[in-house]
Assembly symmetry: C2
Homo-oligomer: 170 residues x 2
């Protein structure tokens, strides 16, 4: 608390913006924006028997096809049982395919089926439409700043796992 911090010194005037109120507004902006961000996919999913957890799984399987269950676990940061429940329904419903690994037969490699890709497309379209509108309204410079701040805010562990995964071609 008490943030009327004396960061103003020595040409450091540029840090004066970190007042308590500014930070609180940032927190609230994050809260409201995340709601908007998930609203459209949530609406689509609630019509089916799916939720946000299914969306996350579908999204990352699409982004890193052939990824293993363990990888997905690390990216999503949930427990095996949590993920497994979701994954089982997706496989049963024919949206996700689980292939036994060639080099290591313990592993299961995950892929979207045609139906899976179709749903991914619907969800992704909705979410990208909102993101595109926000980006367009804000302009390129704001978008760059947005990305910079988000990256500084991320859980670096989890994100690095994901980056490694994508680069290794999965």
């Amino acid at each position: 608390m008490a943030d009327g911090r004396g960061t103003a010194t020595a040409g450091g005037e540029n840090l004066l913006f970190l007042t308590d109120e500014q930070l609180r507004q940032g927190i609230e902006a994050m809260f409201f924006a995340y709601r908007g961000f998930t609203a459209d996919p949530d609406r689509i999913l609630s019509d089916m028997a799916y939720g946000r957890a299914h969306h996350r799984a579908i999204h990352f399987i699409n982004r890193a096809p052939g990824t293993t269950v363990n990888n997905l676990l690390n990216i999503l940061g949930v427990t095996k049982q949590s993920l497994n429940r979701v994954l089982r329904t997706l496989i049963e419903d024919g949206l996700v395919e689980s292939r036994v690994g060639k080099s290591d037969k313990r592993e299961r490699h995950l892929h979207l089926t045609e139906d899976g890709r179709a749903l991914e497309g619907r969800l992704s379209d909705a979410q990208r439409a909102r993101m595109r509108a926000a980006f367009r309204d804000a302009g390129p410079e704001a978008v760059a700043g947005f990305r910079t701040v988000l990256e500084a805010m991320m859980d670096t562990e989890m994100h690095r796992t994901y980056q490694r995964l994508k680069e290794s071609g999965a």
Copy 2:
């Protein structure tokens, strides 16, 4: 990452930065950043019998003391029972006080008790520390862009409700 977008050119080329891949990266950045954003308060709360819902209630009661249950409902965008369960435990535990309205006795006006403010402080400190670090790393311009994009992404309905509420004193 991969920012060499061709926003440089003349004319309508300035929308080229809105590629599919850029948008998808924005979506993922939002996902990972939100995790980081909630990680610290979540850790504090899990030690008690509370969750994220309690945090949200405490946050907004602190920001708009005296607000009614209905107002909070609109801000948070959940159902009555969801909020009520959370509110009941907070009241039982002596963190929140519920006062019957003077002019309209149907209404309950919500306030944090001293203990409530203490917990709010702990949660808020943790979250602001992370936000402050991210803002400092990113710099003032990036922060401005961050805010601009988030505002464009918000669920405007809910946010406007909140703004109205804060201005009306309540």
